[in-house]
Symmetry: C2
């Protein structure tokens, strides 16, 4: 079965965490809003009635619709055997995935601290303050947590010798944070060797490398979650 993924077509955003799992797993999907447009997505979403998603991304698999990145990843892992070996590992990987989701929400709040519906330029002063604390405190706290978590891995990936959704997620946050905060991430380079190695290991997976080199990978830009505004960066 070919899945339908619906997500904003011009950004990586939260949808990228799903795209990476689909691509790495060689799972057939259509990135629907990229062919059908945003209006079609709004219509599709509204037509789903009481079980309509709160927001994109969402994945349609026949009669089943799944939204929320971590839930979609869980669904794909269950369906395609991309799961960890034991029950405890399953909850542990999902827990990490949820902590990535928290980080992603905080990253978005850096450039939209007071009004998610308004433009960045309308909250730039507040964003400057939010970015300063994020760079100083929250960013190292999150990266330190993931670096420590990788200390428990007994293989090249979080769950061992085989990649799973959390590896795609950690790849994406390293890539995103390097784009958003080049100066800060350069200053921190060397502090998180396991995370850097994992990033490179994921990028070197043949299916991922092919994806990243294709036009299916939207480029980072200042409409997404990770946004490079030089005034929000610093050593």
């Amino acid at each position: 079965m070919t899945y339908d993924l619906w997500y904003w077509p011009t950004i990586q955003g939260r949808g990228e965490f799903v795209r990476l799992v689909l691509e790495a797993g060689g799972i057939a999907y259509r990135d629907r809003a990229r062919t059908d447009g945003v209006e079609a997505m709004m219509h599709d979403m509204a037509a789903r009635g009481p079980r309509a998603p709160f927001a994109p991304p969402y994945l349609v698999a026949g009669d089943t619709t799944v939204a929320q990145v971590a839930d979609i990843v869980l669904f794909l892992q269950d369906r395609h055997g991309i799961e960890p070996r034991d029950e405890a590992a399953r909850y542990w990987l999902h827990q990490l995935q949820l902590t990535v989701a928290d980080l992603v929400a905080e990253v978005h709040a850096v450039h939209h601290p007071v009004d998610p519906m308004a433009y960045y330029d309308e909250q730039r002063a507040e964003a400057m303050r939010a970015a300063a604390q994020f760079r100083a405190a929250r960013l190292p706290k999150f990266l330190g947590h993931f670096e420590a978590a990788l200390g428990a891995a007994d293989g090249a990936f979080v769950a061992g010798e085989k990649w799973s959704g959390i590896d795609m997620a950690l790849f994406q946050i390293v890539a995103g944070l390097r784009y958003m905060f080049p100066r800060r991430m350069a200053a921190l380079a060397g502090d998180y060797p396991r995370l850097a190695a994992l990033h490179d290991g994921v990028a070197a997976l043949p299916a991922v490398a092919a994806y990243l080199a294709s036009d299916r990978r939207v480029a980072f830009n200042t409409d997404g979650i990770f946004r490079h505004y030089p005034e929000l960066d610093g050593d």
Copy 2:
């Protein structure tokens, strides 16, 4: 087995979503930081090494440690048969639980829009702006989503005739939002009849009623997630 729950002892916060499931399910647990204190929690958390939680709450079940509210709820539902009847419902309920987590994060960001580590009084001006947009746009959007979701329920609870974690979560957000925004929630009363009925249905469950009347239920206060600051409320 008696679980150990570790969470900040003087607030409901995120821990309350776990406490409610444990209490409703009659599941034995110790609320460890309430007896052993916060310092013991910090020691316990640090001693967990590479699999240490990012933050409380976390639940300890023998050798297994689970953190992140939605992951803990999933774990408890699996272990104690508090699960929905079919696979699609399972992902759907988890998806709703993750949307509750998003709402909780946004609620916290209302009073801490630019610096989660600083005091409210240090970001009060930004919080006034964040609260205005939250009351006007995000709050009705979230409540409308959950109200619509309840339209798919074929019983008193989201998954049918039996409660599950999402019912506890929706009860808690209604209770919390009524405490935090009494004026705004009074203005909206009547717009979300299914959500209001669900709140009352959960509160009337004998195990929940007994819990709410006990001293195990910490009172709402201005150290938690839901905080009543009159200047952040409005019709």
